[in-house]
């Protein structure tokens, strides 16, 4: 195997049966996939279970990967669909915030991280979790997961212009909620029934 292979080369090798390449893919992406599912599902055990399901689907879908999207957006797409299927199969309500950001401080605090640790950041993250599902998943993939606009569009199966529109709407909604962050949003029940 190459010293620092490209993700597409890893996918090709894994498709050919190379378990080491599959392990490298896991090492590179499982933390990001887990983080996405953790934020969406709102529970550690559910997130771990969903991560395992997502990777099982990824191995099944390996032969169908054609390279139209990047490996990262392809994996995020599968993980997001795994989450949506899990929601539908269990007839669950949209899980709400459980202040996941309080339990996972950033490893190297920077000024921005310190700001995120402040009340403003907490209010912002809570407002993100209170967004409607489509806007919330877009914010999660683009901002939290660091995907580009095109990768976010590929992961969600929508157009780039739709991603931009959703992000614009989400930022306006978040700005409106944060106008008076002296009055923080009420804590939402994570298992609230619709």
């Amino acid at each position: 195997m190459l010293m620092d292979p490209q993700p597409e080369q890893l996918v090709l090798a894994a498709r050919a049966g190379d378990r080491a390449a599959a392990g490298e893919l896991i090492s590179r992406y499982y933390a990001r996939i887990y983080a996405l599912l953790r934020r969406l599902a709102g529970d550690d055990s559910d997130a771990a279970d969903l991560t395992q399901r997502a990777f099982a689907r990824i191995w099944q879908a390996l032969p169908a990967f054609a390279g139209r999207a990047t490996v990262a957006s392809w994996m995020h797409s599968i993980a997001y669909r795994t989450y949506v299927d899990w929601l539908r199969s269990n007839h669950r309500a949209e899980p709400r915030s459980d202040e996941w950001w309080e339990a996972c401080p950033a490893p190297d605090p920077s000024p921005a991280d310190r700001a995120a640790a402040s009340d403003l950041a907490a209010t912002l993250f809570r407002a993100v979790d209170a967004l409607e599902p489509a806007a919330r998943s877009t914010v999660h993939l683009h901002y939290y997961q660091g995907l580009s606009l095109e990768e976010t569009a590929d992961a969600l199966g929508i157009a780039v212009s739709t991603v931009k529109y959703r992000l614009r709407q989400a930022l306006e909604a978040l700005g409106a909620r944060l106008r008076d962050h002296q009055h923080p949003l009420p804590r939402l029940n994570p298992q609230r029934q619709p």
């Binding site: 597409e8 996918v11 090709l12 894994a14 498709r15 050919a16 049966g17 378990r19 599959a22 392990g23 896991i26 499982y30 933390a31 990001r32 887990y34 983080a35 953790r38 934020r39 550690d44 997130a47 771990a48 991560t51 395992q52 990777f55 099982a56 191995w59 099944q60 390996l62 032969p63 169908a64 990967f65 054609a66 390279g67 139209r68 999207a69 996941w100 950001w101 339990a103 996972c104 401080p105 950033a106 920077s110 921005a112 991280d113 700001a115 995120a116 403003l120 950041a121 912002l124 993100v128 914010v139 901002y143 939290y144 660091g146 095109e150 930022l171 978040l174 700005g175 944060l178 106008r179």
Partner: protein, 346 residues
């Protein structure tokens, strides 16, 4: 302080990452189930080259950019041509203003010819042209005088004998009669085509079968000098038809029924599409009116025909009211001068 959108974006991008639980990576590594050889053979999709993946995402932009570039090139070419044309126009104006406008002969001169000619050459060339023009004028005058002589001869008399004139007249009349038969043939064919599409029923009037008639000219008998063909069907009126239509809404199975009749030549077109020539003039007794229809009934055997000297039975004249004749285009409108197609003079 109110946070701006870039602030919000920065905070969101710096959001802390939830850490996966310990042991998850090992669990995932244990659960790796790569596709089997059979699955790979059946389902593997070839990986697209990077440029192809890029093109899949960006082809609308690339196509638009190519189109815009082509438009820019086109505009640039047009601007260049416009600039050259403007320069040429301004140069021509300048020459005109300076009184040195190029003469027509110079303009028509082949490329490469010297624009600065010797005045003597010009003078010689003009003299040659003048001589040629004078010769042309002489020829023209000779032609005019000869033409005048011919006109005098024509006006004084054709120089033909009476027999020759009669022969020519007869030939012309025969040609007109044949053309009239041809018109009736076309009208009969058009009526039968219309009837095929309408349950073997003939059209109620001529306008109805306008789609089947090739031209309004076939409605004018060549011997009818008082009528003119309509320019189109929208302008068609009874004054634009020489023929009588006698089988309105009749059945095309009545083979002996007269559908069209030329009042000038006496030809009749029957419902079966055939045309009988000169019946109205030579054998009017063959036309029998029965049950409101005019039938063509010649004697079954020529020997049974009445001798030429015998008094021919009086053929009943088909009676049609003026209303019906107007309806079928057999009479000109009241405003037009009456053309009297019943007693034509061929």
């Amino acid at each position: 302080m109110k946070p701006t959108e870039p602030d919000l974006e920065q905070i969101l991008r710096r959001a802390p990452q939830p850490r996966p639980p310990t042991g998850l990576e090992e669990k995932l590594l244990r659960q790796v189930e790569l596709p089997t050889c059979a699955q790979r053979a059946a389902e593997t999709v070839p990986l697209l080259p990077p440029w192809r993946a890029w093109l899949n995402s960006w082809w609308p932009v690339v196509a638009t950019a190519c189109l815009a570039a082509a438009c820019l090139v086109l505009v640039a070419v047009q601007q260049t041509e416009l600039r050259e044309l403007r320069a040429a126009v301004s140069a021509a104006r300048a020459r005109q203003a300076a009184g040195t406008a190029p003469r027509a002969a110079e303009v028509q001169a082949p490329a490469g010819a010297s624009t600065a000619r010797d005045p003597r050459e010009d003078l010689e060339r003009l003299r040659t042209v003048a001589k040629r023009a004078a010769a042309d004028v002489r020829d023209l005058e000779a032609l005019e005088s000869e033409n005048a002589k011919l006109r005098e001869r024509v006006s004084a008399g054709p120089g033909l004998t009476a027999a020759e004139v009669q022969t020519m007249t007869d030939a012309r009349d025969r040609a007109r009669a044949i053309a009239c038969i041809n018109n009736l043939k076309q009208l009969g064919l058009a009526a039968r085509i219309w009837a095929v599409d309408h349950g073997d029923v003939l059209p109620p009037n001529l306008i109805s079968m306008s789609n089947e008639i090739s031209s309004t000219k076939v409605l004018i008998c060549p011997g009818d000098q008082g009528r003119q063909a309509a320019t189109d069907w929208a302008a068609f009126s009874p004054a634009n038809c020489s023929y009588e239509y006698l089988a309105a809404s009749g059945s095309d199975t009545e083979a002996a029924r007269v559908a069209f009749r030329c009042p000038i030549h006496g030809h009749v077109g029957l419902c079966d599409g055939s045309v009988q020539g000169y019946v109205g003039q030579r054998h009017p007794e063959y036309l029998v009116s029965r049950g409101g229809a005019l039938l063509f009934e010649p004697p079954p055997n020529p020997s049974q025909a009445p001798p030429p000297g015998a008094a021919a039975p009086v053929a009943p004249t088909p009676t049609m009211s003026a209303e019906i004749m107007r309806r079928y285009g057999l009479q000109p409108p009241a405003s037009a001068p009456a053309q009297a197609p019943a007693n034509p003079q061929p």
